[in-house]
Amino acid sequence: MAVVLLPGLLATEAGGQKRFELEVETVGAALHALPVANLLLDEAGAVRPLVHVYVNGERERDLAAPLPPGACVRIVAAIAGG
């Protein structure tokens, strides 16, 4: 099982839920299982450039990367905008 934590705007889009416990084996599977998957991934299935994924505190860019048991996946919006 992995725990996925969402930032505020995504939690709002997920109906107010910011913590998800998912039975998934990869980073990509975790993102796809979320109700905000189409905000994290574009139409080609790629992670949007300013969406950063951290697994147990380390930046992870590979959607195929396996998740260790009990992993904490944190979605972080890059600093952008004005």
Binding site: L10, N38, L39, E43, A44, A77, A80, G81
Partner: protein
């Protein structure tokens, strides 16, 4: 019947309700989203917003309870074989009254979508995606944006779209095909070919609801009117307008000869002309224009979605400096101030 103004800003959506002689600003909706355009569907009262984020991309939100709760589109994107990705959502147009679940959506890069399930899923318009002239389209300052979608109330198969900077395109078959409709409109930024088939920088196109073969256009290079459904255009900006440049456009549903524009100094200085915010009206199909000055002095800017009109001749404009003005019976009133930069205004009536 009072007016409800639906105002999209760079930082959220605002509703402004008229109550008696007062304007009441409600709490922001969709905080954190840039609202390029939002509209109340007159067919069923649903509120739609073109929602965009630097981080999370462009999508569409729908509310059936005036913003208390929202649903987000489930499927919205471009087919992989196009080689394109949706950059932003820009304009949402409720479909023909005979197609109650149909919506049209314009976006970047120069793309059009249709939904037949009230915005849950969207199909990209293939005719535009693979249009034979696409390689001659060029992005304007706001990107390669499909921002205008005008429907013919009497003919569900006919629509016009406007893309900056590709020009106006007309479909007679419900979007199965599109033909350029730019004859007579200038691309003044192309000195070697100022009247091309495509490549014009159209800023806004509207069809008159009671006489839809009459189109009005505010272009990068002039104000135009067409009386033959876009087959030809007549330039109208040398009869009282201080500048051919501007973005905003509004009509009067009761009178096809009436139109409103807000001229700006020019492409290199995008502030309202003559140091004031003037809403210019023609009542003779563009033969002459006269201003109503909303604010003087002012160096304001009203974007292409930033002006709207109601069924009773009222005109409403929102500025990039966050003020909303109402023009009715020749009188200007302030409906809101100090909002985030305003990207769109739509006027609706509510009970």
């Amino acid at each position: 019947m009072d007016v409800l103004l639906v105002v999209g800003t760079r930082k959220g959506l605002f509703l402004i309700r008229e109550s008696g002689n007062e304007w009441q600003l409600e709490e922001p909706l969709l905080p954190g989203w840039q609202i390029n355009h939002a509209v109340l569907d007159p067919r069923d009262g649903s509120l739609y917003a073109c929602t965009n984020s630097w981080v999370y991309g462009g999508t569409v939100h729908r509310s059936t309870d005036l913003g208390k709760t929202w649903e987000r589109s489930e499927e919205l994107g471009l087919p992989e074989e196009s080689g394109l990705k949706l950059a932003s959502t820009w304009h949402l147009e409720p479909g023909h009254p005979s197609q109650p679940d149909t919506l049209w959506l314009g976006g970047e890069p120069g793309v059009l979508f249709r939904s037949d399930d009230s915005g849950a899923t969207w199909a990209a318009n293939e005719a535009l995606l693979g249009h034979e002239t696409r390689e001659r389209w060029a992005p304007g300052a706001g990107g390669l944006v499909c921002h205008s979608i005008a429907l013919d109330p009497g003919n569900a198969g006919r629509l016009w779209i406007g893309i900056s900077a590709a020009g106006v395109f007309r479909s007679e078959d419900g979007g199965e095909s599109f033909e350029p409709a730019n004859a007579g409109t200038e691309a003044c930024f192309l000195p070697d070919d100022p009247f091309p088939e495509v490549g014009q920088c159209v800023h806004k196109v509207l069809a008159h609801p009671a006489r839809p073969e009459r189109l009005w256009q505010q272009n990068h290079c002039g104000v135009y009117r067409s009386d033959d459904a876009g087959a030809s255009w007549e330039r109208l900006d040398e009869n009282g307008l201080p500048s051919p440049f501007g973005f905003a456009l509004a009509l009067d549903p009761a009178d096809p000869d009436v139109a409103y524009v807000i001229p700006e100094e020019g492409a290199e200085n995008r502030v309202t002309s003559d140091g004031r915010l003037g809403i210019y009206r023609t009542g003779d199909a563009g033969a002459s224009w006269t201003p109503t000055v909303a604010v003087d002095p002012a160096w304001a800017a009203v974007l292409r979605e930033g002006m709207s009109f109601d069924a009773d001749g009222g005109v409403y404009a929102g500025t990039q400096s966050g003020f909303v003005y109402a023009l009715r019976d020749g009188q200007v009133t302030e409906a809101a101030r100090h909002l985030p930069p305003i990207l769109s205004v739509e006027a609706s009536t509510w009970q």
